[in-house]
């Protein structure tokens, strides 16, 4: 095995965007029959590198060798012709078309639909990726949609399969299934390039790893020989501050927020309606809501923020006052604060300056207005305060929101709310797509806020995060919420089963997402 030549080699590949060097003389070698991890923080250059390998970007310098021969990859089609397949983090599927139709559309050579469906069935059986070719995509779960993308790639018979953060949308059980498939592929002699920042997964799955930091290769290693902590150090380049949980042992105060069997039909016909959601959140407590994306998280956030008013005022009670009919600003005046999942477009307007984005959430309760006139100097002072308290890195004093990197903008939108000293903070995906440094700073801020007596509700798909910061964890599935259980003593497996719908009992009206639970 050792004398085999590499399947793919990138030699001193460099790519610049303006003055930013996204990839600086990067070397990468992938052997046949190898699951190779590409590790790195957000912005380390992982995506740039694989986009060059898949023909989506052209390198400025360096060369790419395929089975020892220098190749050029002007288009993804050329990459596929060589035998390189890629599954993206964001799917490109037509919701209204069937599985087979979606696959047929993406094939490089046209083929009659029944033939495509037949091959699809074969491939999906051979690799343990169950799919029904005639199903319309909108009926499928995220995990199933990912299977379509993988099967679509496998039907081109690739020698190298590139996967970009494939498990970010999967339950632990689905993740296990995916790993089985990838091991099968490896045993057939194919190679897998696996992009992730989940260190445990990489250690379980991959036998080689290349670690990128700021566009450069900083380390190559066998992840099985490493600990999660040592891998993290290589990625970040320094010790990550451990999030401190110096919390008083279950010194839970009085109940601050109560949801009492909240029903809320979704405004979006493809959305998930909330059904009988009840919870209690005490002062000084962090409650985590786990769940696979699309199970009612958006609707729950909208109901809590007041963007979608509840049908019954008493369904949502804040500090003894029914607030179900109140709008978002009325709730803000009661010292509630909100951080939605989407940074750009929801939490912040991309083309507005940070000071104006301070006004988005702060015009009702922050004293930015005097007789209807906007007090720009106060907004700027607020931006300065958030910047220094949350280490927001930016060039000018008051740039447009879109000019900030994801992590820095997230620090800004979280800091914007926490600096108001809210008594209730509802935050969705607080560290989604954020680098490790920013993530630990944000988590620490949430813990400190709760330690000061505020109630914090965290909706997250990242189980590690919830186990790290939450006192109690509940799972949302299909718009229904499980009882919250203390995080202490709760296993990931137990949460994973709930995320897959176990223990929720049969549901009368079964929405499409349910049907996948095999």
């Amino acid at each position: 095995m050792a004398d085999r030549s590499p399947l793919l080699a990138a030699e001193a590949v460099t790519r610049r965007f303006g003055t930013l060097v996204a990839n600086d003389a990067v070397d990468l070698t992938v052997m046949p029959g190898e699951i190779h991890a590409l590790l790195g923080e957000n912005g380390a250059g992982k995506s740039t590198l694989v986009k060059m390998l898949y023909g989506l970007l052209a390198p400025d310098a360096g060369r790419i060798l395929w089975q020892g021969r220098a190749v050029s990859l002007p288009t993804p089609r050329a990459a596929r012709a060589l035998g390189i397949g890629m599954v993206f983090q964001h799917f490109s599927l037509f919701d209204a078309l069937s599985v087979a139709e979606n696959v047929a559309l993406a094939l490089d050579e046209a083929a009659p639909l029944p033939q495509v469906a037949e091959r699809l069935r074969e491939v999906s059986r051979a690799y343990g990726l169950p799919l029904e070719p005639g199903r319309e995509v909108w009926r499928l779960s995220v995990g199933e949609r990912q299977r379509i993308e993988i099967v679509r790639c496998l039907m081109q018979n690739p020698q190298l399969l590139i996967l970009d953060e494939p498990t970010s949308v999967l339950t632990p059980q689905e993740t296990e299934g995916l790993f089985e498939t990838l091991r099968t592929l490896r045993d057939e002699g194919r190679a897998v390039l696996y992009i992730s920042h989940k260190l445990d997964e990489v250690r379980r799955l991959c036998e080689a790893a290349t670690i990128l930091r700021q566009g450069r290769v900083v380390e190559r290693c066998d992840p099985r020989q490493q600990t999660a902590a040592s891998l993290a150090r290589m990625m970040v380049g320094s010790q990550i501050a451990d999030v401190r949980r110096a919390r008083a042992e279950s010194a839970a105060g009085p109940v601050r927020l109560r949801l009492d069997s909240l029903d809320l039909p979704s405004e979006d016909p493809q959305g998930t309606s909330l059904k009988g959601v009840s919870l209690e959140l005490a002062a000084g407590e962090i409650l985590g809501i786990a769940g696979v994306a699309g199970n009612g998280q958006d609707e729950l956030f909208a109901a809590l923020s007041g963007e979608a008013p509840a049908p019954r005022a008493a369904a949502i009670v804040l500090e003894g006052t029914p607030i179900g009919h109140d709008g978002i600003n009325a709730r803000r005046r009661r010292a509630a604060a909100f951080v939605p999942e989407e940074r750009l477009g929801h939490a912040a307007a991309p083309r507005m300056a940070l000071s104006e984005n301070a006004l988005v959430a702060g015009h009702a309760a922050n004293g930015f207005l005097r007789r209807g006139f906007v007090q720009r100097d106060r907004m700027l002072a607020w931006v300065d305060a958030v910047t220094s308290a949350f280490d927001v890195r930016k060039g000018p004093r008051d740039p447009e929101a879109r000019a900030l990197s994801g992590g820095n903008l997230q620090k800004f939108v979280v800091g914007r709310e926490i600096l108001r000293k809210p008594r209730l903070l509802v935050v969705s995906q607080p560290t989604w797509g954020v680098d490790a440094g920013a993530a630990s700073l944000i988590r620490q801020a949430l813990i400190d806020l709760a330690a000061d007596g505020a109630s914090v509700l965290v909706i997250s798909q990242d189980l590690d995060e919830l186990f790290e910061i939450a006192d109690r964890i509940a799972v949302i599935f299909h718009g229904r919420l499980s009882p919250a259980r203390p995080a202490e003593g709760l296993t990931r497996e137990a949460v994973g089963l709930l995320m897959g719908g176990e223990g929720f009992g049969p549901v009368a009206d079964t929405p499409p997402v349910m049907e996948r639970v095999a």
């Binding site: 303006g18 052209a58 390198p59 050029s72 990859l73 002007p74 288009t75 089609r77 050329a78 923020s305 007041g306 963007e307 709008g327 978002i328 600003n329 803000r332 909100f338 939605p340 989407e342 477009g345 929801h346 939490a347 912040a348 307007a349 991309p350 083309r351 507005m352 104006e356 006004l359 988005v360 959430a361 015009h363 009702a364 207005l369 209807g372 006139f373 906007v374 000019a403």
Partner: protein
């Protein structure tokens, strides 16, 4: 193989907002030099007739103000609408209804009115335009009917209503059967500002409106709301702004301004109602709004510029015997250039060359 791609520039500075219209004006003038030359005119003289003469004497300047007044009033209102993604294309109709409501007061009080008539006319005109603009707004909010179609179609309704009124019930009995109303009495006309021209109080009203709108947009929460709803609707909801209420508000304001422009045109410039009363101010104002970057002060500058081309076009018809269509060619060229300049300033063109030995 080589492909040209448009790539968004990372940071287009504030200068770009000003540079695009100025560049567009310069390019329009340069292109028109060529057109004049092809038509066998002396290009420099033609350019003078179009752009210099209208602003070279007091009478010309006053005419420019008279033409610019309705354009500025309407376009400021449209700028508020367009900023918030509400597409009011029917300002022409609101303009006519404003003229009908205000003019109706003048016809009704003809012969017995007093100094109270003129304020009442202005109020009636603004209220009429507002009510007319609320039709597409309410339909959009309540029934999700497309506001572009409704507001546009209502232009023709207003046009025919005016036609019927001046041929029927409101026809001047002493007017030799001509389709027009009586000439308004003194109490029903806007006072002139200077001798030797037609510039009237309406221009002052337009200036006040520009100042108020500029302050509202830049310094108040309402202005922030308008910009936020247009740029990031979800963030606007997160800020607690209601987009339906805002739709009603901006349609009401722009309708009122268009109606006000209509009654000012009727009471200040034409002094009666007659068919073909508007040279399409409501539609030209759309160009003015975009040329003015959907900014109230920008609308003022753009409105004056477009007014100059109107007057210059009239001059050119008389002196150079050039067709009126030249004015439309100007406006078309201008819109074309401003869109092109915008694109080239916000984006850059890159040649994408694949690596050596590409096989596609």
């Amino acid at each position: 193989m080589m492909a040209l791609v448009l790539e968004r520039r990372a940071e287009a500075g504030k200068w770009a907002l000003l540079a695009a219209p100025l560049l567009a004006v310069g390019l329009t003038m340069a292109s028109s030099l060529v057109v004049f030359w092809l038509l066998g005119q002396d290009p420099w003289r033609a350019l003078q007739v179009y752009f210099i003469w209208p602003v070279s004497d007091a009478w010309g300047l006053q005419e420019v103000a008279v033409k610019a007044t309705p354009l500025v009033l309407i376009s400021v209102g449209l700028a508020l609408c367009f900023r918030s993604n509400n597409w009011n294309i029917g300002a022409e109709g609101q303009f006519l209804i404003g003229a009908i409501c205000g003019g109706g007061v003048a016809v009704w009080t003809h012969g017995w009115g007093g100094p109270w008539v003129l304020p009442l006319m202005l109020l009636a005109g603004a209220a009429g335009g507002m009510a007319y603009a609320l039709i597409p707004a309410v339909l959009k909010v309540r029934l999700r009917v497309n506001e572009i179609l409704v507001s546009l179609m209502l232009v023709y309704v207003a046009d025919l209503l005016l036609d019927w009124l001046v041929r029927g019930p409101w026809r001047d009995p002493m007017g030799f059967n001509m389709p027009q109303t009586v000439t308004f009495a003194r109490d029903a006309t806007l006072p002139l500002l200077f001798d030797g021209g037609r510039m009237n109080l309406g221009s002052v009203i337009a200036l006040v409106v520009v100042v108020v709108a500029a302050v509202v947009m830049a310094r108040t929460l309402k202005g922030f709301e308008i910009r936020l709803v247009g740029q990031a609707p979800r963030a606007a909801r997160f800020a607690g702004f209601s987009d339906t209420r805002l739709t009603i508000t901006v349609f009401a304001v722009s309708g009122a301004l268009a109606g006000l422009a209509g009654v000012i045109e009727a009471a200040g410039t034409v002094r009666q109602l007659l068919p073909g009363f508007s040279p399409g101010y409501g539609f030209t104002a759309i160009i003015v709004a975009f040329l003015g970057r959907l900014n109230p002060v920008g609308c003022l500058i753009a409105g004056i510029f477009i007014a100059i081309t109107f007057i210059g076009g009239e001059n050119a018809q008389i002196i150079l015997r050039l067709p009126r269509d030249m004015t439309l060619v100007f406006q078309g060229l201008l819109l074309f250039y401003i869109l092109a300049c915008d694109t080239l300033i916000l984006y850059r063109i890159r040649r994408r060359v694949p690596l050596q030995g590409a096989q596609t």
